[in-house]
Symmetry: C2
Subunit: 100 residues, 2 copies
């Protein structure tokens, strides 16, 4: 995989609306849908559901269900998902430094 293909693959993850904010919330330890939503001000339930589903499909997060009662659903980052941290840090650093 050359650099350009690798960058395109990475941007399929980070380029979606709210994806970076959701990842940041999960990197900070939020696991429940309601916790993540609280961390990501302004996101709708539908968008958060879509992003979480995509992160799971991409192997960046795992969904677990504790049968309860009450049923508890958790989303946890995989090792690959935690690998997003340096990318988000680089993006944040650039965005802070570069104010158009």
């Amino acid at each position: 995989m050359n650099d350009c293909a690798a960058i395109e693959a990475a941007l399929k993850v980070f380029g979606r609306a709210w994806a970076a904010a959701v990842l940041r919330a999960m990197l900070s330890g939020a696991e429940r849908f309601s916790e993540i939503r609280r961390e990501v001000t302004g996101i709708t339930d539908a968008v958060l559901s879509a992003r979480l589903r995509e992160l799971c499909e991409a192997g960046l997060a795992e969904r677990s269900v504790e049968p309860g009662p009450p049923v508890v659903v958790r989303y946890r980052l995989t090792d690959a998902g935690r690998g997003t941290e340096p990318v988000l840090a680089a993006l944040a650093e650039f965005g802070r430094w570069h104010r158009p």
Copy 2:
């Protein structure tokens, strides 16, 4: 500027189609339109023009015209533009490592 806003600002640059590939070509030293186009396999003239215009508007590149003849137009990254290198490196590293 908080992290989320900074990340959103950065993704306005990196999230556009072909933007990362154009930046990489320019970081490698390509300056002329035709040089950059040659480095970025598959890009159309219209898309390359649009990306270069946006990079200039964002303060990441500068357009200079040598009056000639022949007229020579060059696009050079500014200091801010060169600041994209660590972000592209982080994206490439993540993309290589994470193959969904």
